[in-house]
Subunit: 458 residues, 2 copies
């Protein structure tokens, strides 16, 4: 599997000098950023961008470790056979036109698999944007990718995605949005041979990956998937957007990547047992990934403290946390006693901790600064969610107090934001710099606390 992310040498069959074609970008991206040997193959060119272009894989100066094919589906079997004859063992097919287009494509797929089986070749794709690694910038997708050395920041998140265009667009959004640092991206398309289980097994030993975001339209080998997920749980965060849950969407999935979706209820229960966090859309997947990637703490737990300027927000948070199997437990008598020194006598402190009374005495910032460390230390508490009010006052919030509390206790803090929308960005930047992920939707915040919990062991 390593050959798909950091090969010694790679050939791009279908490389062209025409920048509106995908074959141009695959070659150009690899040639520009990757330090390994990259060869263009296309009988119509003698050179591309000043580099020798080869008529066929047989003409290459070496037996390359990986061949990427971006040619019409009907030509794939003959090139595959040529590769097989040369002893090439790893092929990535980015082009479409196989099982998703009907009988003719199915026959082509059968031919490809027959050659692969006979010659012990592993096939990635087809109908996909391929593999990406931020280490040494190996970027195979057939799309323009300027300034990758700035945009592809190495980090703890790896992504597995089944859909071609979506994986590509999603990758653009991740690169341009700078939500989190990326280790690897695997867009596996029709997964004729290599599937999510292969990628997961590979990522299990990649220490740079701490969070794995998955978009899957089907889970091909259910039992093996659950096994590898269970092995990874407690070590890496697994986040899954599983499409094709409804009967209607299952039909759509069949025509899109040619895969059949499984029985949802069975999948659902097994995933929960294996510690996989399910999300319902792409932005939620990004939010969860971002929170897990940026927090200085990676493990949470079931028992959450809600620290809020609004009683109503506290109630809605409790509902949403409860939806995700989390609790808002009582604080210990010791914590209550310490808080009583901060709170006015007429308001007995309890969880959710409503700061309103003490805010009137001390102001909103001091209220949070005094209360958060006390509550986070409580042995009944595994994590905290803050519900502050974004206003011009935010500028003077001493967020280092929160960071220290997280580091001392090993418990994560996340935050909701409401109030003055023109202060949201400043608030978000300030809190994120302190290691506190911020959400404008409470439901997203609750989901993220549930995701933290998967490494908490409770």
């Amino acid at each position: 599997m390593r050959s798909f992310f950091r090969p010694e040498s790679v050939a791009v069959v279908g490389a062209t000098a025409n920048p509106i074609k995908g074959g141009y970008h695959i070659y150009n991206n690899l040639k520009t950023y990757f330090s390994g040997r990259v060869y263009p193959v296309n009988p119509n060119y003698d050179e591309i961008g000043g580099h020798t272009c080869y008529r066929s894989v047989s003409d290459l100066p070496e037996v390359v470790e990986l061949v990427i094919l971006f040619i019409p589906a009907k030509h794939v079997p003959s090139v595959m056979a040529e590769c097989a004859g040369l002893g090439i063992k790893r092929i990535q097919i980015q082009a479409a036109g196989f099982v998703e287009v009907g009988t003719e494509g199915e026959e082509l797929a059968r031919q490809v698999l027959a050659i692969a089986g006979e010659h012990d070749i592993r096939v990635w794709g087809p109908n996909c944007t391929g593999s990406v690694s931020s280490r040494d910038i190996f970027f195979a997708p057939f799309m323009p990718a300027p300034d990758l050395n700035e945009k592809l920041t190495p980090g703890p998140v790896s992504v597995i995605a089944q859909s071609g265009m979506l994986a590509g667009g999603f990758l653009v959004q991740m690169l341009e949005g700078g939500y989190f640092g990326i280790d690897k991206v695997a867009a596996i398309g029709n997964k004729m041979d290599i599937d999510e289980v292969d990628i997961l097994k590979f990522l299990a030993d990649e220490d740079d990956t701490r969070v794995i975001l998955m978009y899957l339209e089907s889970i091909a080998r259910g039992r093996e998937f659950m096994e590898v997920a269970r092995e990874l749980s407690g070590k890496k965060h697994l986040v899954l957007l599983k499409a094709g849950r409804s009967e209607q969407s299952k039909a759509a999935a069949l025509s899109h990547t040619g895969s059949l979706a499984g029985n949802e209820q069975v999948i659902d229960g097994a995933l929960a047992q294996a510690g996989v966090i399910r999300v319902s859309d792409f932005m939620e997947m990004i939010h969860v990934g971002q929170a897990l990637a940026t927090s200085p703490v990676s493990a949470g737990g079931r028992r959450v403290a809600v620290i809020t300027v609004t009683g109503g927000g506290g109630i809605v948070s409790t509902d949403l946390l409860s939806d995700f199997g989390l609790e808002v437990p009582d604080l210990t008598p010791e914590t209550v006693k310490t808080l009583q020194e901060i709170f006015p006598p007429w308001m007995p402190p309890k969880n959710p901790v409503d700061l309103w009374p003490t805010m009137e005495l001390r102001g909103i910032n001091e209220a949070f600064e005094l209360v958060v460390p006390v509550v986070l230390k409580d042995p009944n508490i595994d994590a905290a969610i803050l519900l502050p009010f974004a206003s011009p006052l935010v500028e003077t919030q001493k967020v280092d107090i929160f960071t220290r509390a997280m580091k001392e206790t090993g418990k994560p803090i996340i935050s909701w934001v409401f109030g003055y929308p023109d202060r949201f960005e400043m608030f978000e930047d300030t809190m994120k710099a302190a290691g506190i992920p911020v959400f404008r939707q409470l439901s997203q915040a609750a989901k993220v606390l549930a995701a933290f919990r998967t490494l908490g062991g409770m």
Copy 2:
């Protein structure tokens, strides 16, 4: 009820000249913006801001239509009695300190209700930020509200909120965020007397209100609430964030506004039958309100067309629409035939409509411009969701084609956005100007289509 939103005259008991106190803001907001007669009452001042301040309500030059009380709870019964003696019939208590703080407060509440009952007085609050109307800018909340004449834009959305601080903060966010135009806001707090049913009945005849957003921690008169909701369905959109769903949050709600929450399952079914859209957090409530307020079309239906640049996005959309009881039906043979002239022959068009093949021929913008009007006209379709890719190309999208299609068919279009995050705002602005609400989360988009459906009658 009119007296709480546009009284001829109003007295503010507890008005002060001290701008860090709530009583200052209530008086100042009313005096600054409202054209009716506004009187400050406080025995400690002879004048406030150059206006005569009265020692008591008995000293006022007239029997005012409305009295707003912002004084400690223990003084409320005696002022109430004084008002009753004068024949005043409408009182709004913004201060806290009643049932939510225990036995002593409960006794005060009993005294207030006894006086109200005896003298036929309607009481609003306590523990609330009171009433707001954009017509003639009647703004009672005890918070600073600069530039209201610019920020409180009249529009079709009215808000009913139970929690004090939250309603206040939420109001700030709505005013500052400019998400939608506002007709009325009713922050009803502990709802000792006036409750959501009273407000709903009043709003039923307020033609300026087309969308009602509700945040409730309890539904005090369940049967009457359902009756008025059923009467309103088909005429106005009702959107509800019901807090206190979980057992834990019910306990929190009790201490917060002193109200008991009901049986969730019973409430749930009845609300769905009455056409009430439930949302799970505040931002979702804003999103839904904004979409309903800004679309040129107010009614949708169950049958949704998904028009997408990504097959994967089409599948996830189908899942989410299905979660909300919506369908992604087949297109009519006539529509398919028309689309076949636009699509390449190897890709038979169907719903979800995957534009990928025709995009390769025509570019993304033309693909949408050709396909959207054809699909929206389909008699099998009630509404459409677009899944485009935000890129620099967006600048040249001819969105007037979409607006015309909506107006001709009376069917709404909404849009998801993914792609280049630095293009999201431009994309959102462009689409919103054309009457198409845009969402970054697919789940929000699906929820909004479900909300449109409630006025669609199918």
